[in-house]
């Protein structure tokens, strides 16, 4: 039987995730030190795990409302108001989802008609373009570069706008570059969005993980933006809860209602165990989160210094837990560099091209790994760089 003819053309033609591709290459190798992960190296703080266990002990094993537990939404509303300075009504403007990924999918499906264009900055997280395509939209990447420290350049954004432009997706701090959008840049982007009547999805998943000492600003908090912005956030990165698969979005109630319609047909609700763990994280997870952030901060400073010492050009990323060093001067493509580093020195880092073509010449290296392993990885990478220079 020819299974191929049963498969959807749209999905078959969609490229595989570059991360996934690289993962398959690593799968066979033993004893590798991985800088290729995209998650914290901490176990979820105990008080949060304990809340999840207690939830199970109490026998909380049911569905919840499609909107999730009201107590979770109230906790989210309080947290978002204090952290981002934007107020949302927990009864109709907040939807807990299975990670930010689900929220992005729901939002795009609710916003796009076929042919509508979605602008986002590149290099960026691997799911944006495919999710736009699955929602029948047209993905319009705007390239960013080291000259803007990988923040979206407002002039380039404006140049990419067409009459079909409907949505702008932002992700600061950015996976994979760790970049931050300076406040003046965000202000200009906001003005452009108001002027051209564009709706914004802002993926704030790394917003607690900033090391530049500047209070994080979401575009949702800028004048005139709350009404045209969906703020997406979750628990995975700041609270080390990737496996709980819990995220949420906050925005105009008309959009939230449509998103909940799809959510009620496809996902129903995030696991109740995760929702109750999430409440504990928001209420009592701050100090553990700050400990983890400070620990990433130390590691960021170390790895960036080592990378520059070994001859890679690496900017100091303001947030997330990624560095994005340039390997241009070694005359290898990102993929060749990453493959040889893996084969010859057993260090895994993701080629920048996994996050868009303008990631060529770069590597994504995650420093959410034990310090002693970072030291070893840096020693190995330094030897590799020396061998390339020779």
């Amino acid at each position: 039987m020819d299974m191929q003819r049963f498969l959807s053309r749209k999905i078959v033609d969609m490229p595989r995730s570059g991360i996934r591709e690289f993962f398959d290459l690593c799968a066979g190798s033993k004893d590798i030190i991985s800088l290729g992960v995209g998650e914290p190296d901490f176990v979820t703080p105990w008080n949060i795990r304990e809340a999840a266990i207690f939830s199970l002990e109490k026998g909380h094993t049911t569905y919840t409302s499609n909107y999730g537990l009201l107590s979770l939404r109230e906790a989210i509303a309080a947290y978002v108001a204090s952290f981002f300075g934007v107020g949302y009504d927990p009864t109709c403007e907040i939807l807990p989802t299975v990670g930010v990924s689900e929220a992005i999918d729901l939002a795009l499906r609710c916003l796009l008609n076929p042919g509508d264009e979605v602008i986002y900055h590149e290099p960026v997280y691997v799911s944006y373009a495919p999710t736009v395509q699955m929602a029948d939209g047209v993905a319009v990447p705007v390239q960013t570069g080291i000259e803007d420290l990988f923040a979206l350049n407002p002039d380039k954004l404006e140049a990419a706008i067409t009459p079909r432009t409907k949505v702008l997706m932002l992700n600061f701090p950015t996976n994979p570059t760790g970049s931050i959008a300076p406040l003046e840049t965000l202000n200009r982007i906001a003005e452009i969005c108001v002027k051209h009547d564009i709706f914004v999805l802002t993926d704030e998943i790394y917003s607690e993980l900033r090391y530049d000492g500047v209070r994080h600003t979401s575009i949702a908090s800028l004048p005139g933006m709350k009404e045209r912005t969906l703020l997406l956030h979750g628990f995975s990165k700041a609270f080390a809860m990737t496996g709980f698969r819990l995220g949420y979005c906050c925005g105009p109630k008309e959009l939230i209602e449509m998103m909940c319609k799809i959510h009620s047909y496809t996902m129903i609700c995030p696991t109740i165990t995760s929702q109750e763990a999430g409440i504990e994280a928001l209420r009592n997870g701050q100090s553990a989160m700050h400990e983890m952030r400070d620990s990433y901060h130390i590691r960021r400073d170390y790895i960036v210094k080592r990378f520059n010492d070994m001859g890679m050009d690496c900017h100091l990323p303001g947030g997330a837990f990624y560095t994005f060093p340039s390997i241009r001067r070694f005359g290898l493509s990102s993929k060749e560099f990453a493959l040889r580093l893996l084969k010859e020195h057993k260090v895994a880092a993701v080629p920048g091209t996994a996050f868009g073509p303008c990631g060529e010449g770069y590597l994504r290296c995650c420093y959410a790994t034990a310090f002693s392993l970072l030291e070893q990885a840096c020693d190995k990478m330094a030897r590799f760089c020396d061998s390339l220079k020779a």
Binding site: S17, I19, F22, F23, C26, A27, I32, S34, G36, V37, G38, E39, D41, V43, Y125, V126, S127, N175, I298, D301, Y302, K305, A348, V350, F371, E375
Partner: protein
Amino acid sequence: MLRDSLLKLLAADARLSDRQLADRLNVSASDIAAERAALEKEGRIVGYQAIVNDDDDFVSAFIEVRCTPERGGGFNRLASRIARFDEVKSCFLISGNFDLLVMVEAKSLMGVARFVSEKLSTMEGVLSTSTQFRLKTYKNNGLSFEEEDAPERISVAP
């Protein structure tokens, strides 16, 4: 600032070299050496020890001691007299129903018993003692004594 960060790192792992500490805190190794020396001189860093799982090697007891405070010195003189015994591993002044919590370690149960009956309870000022023996250590100095395997992360992830 450097001081707080240094103490935090050393409290977690005292074996880190000055070089490693310098890498983590983005300062020079000589800065670390100077700060460490200052901390030692001031008595903020009292010592560097291994955390040993000695449940099978020693008998330990937590002894609640009630005593009479002295005019002028309070509990200090008596507490430091008690603390000087080699058998005493820790000694704290405690609020509540008793005054001093003394942790005593000996090779055998009889060793602890002898220490309590011959040394501790006969000291002038000690009103009463109540001895609790350690049966098993689960966590000490912030370290879990029951080895848990670190969960495995997949090597390349989003």
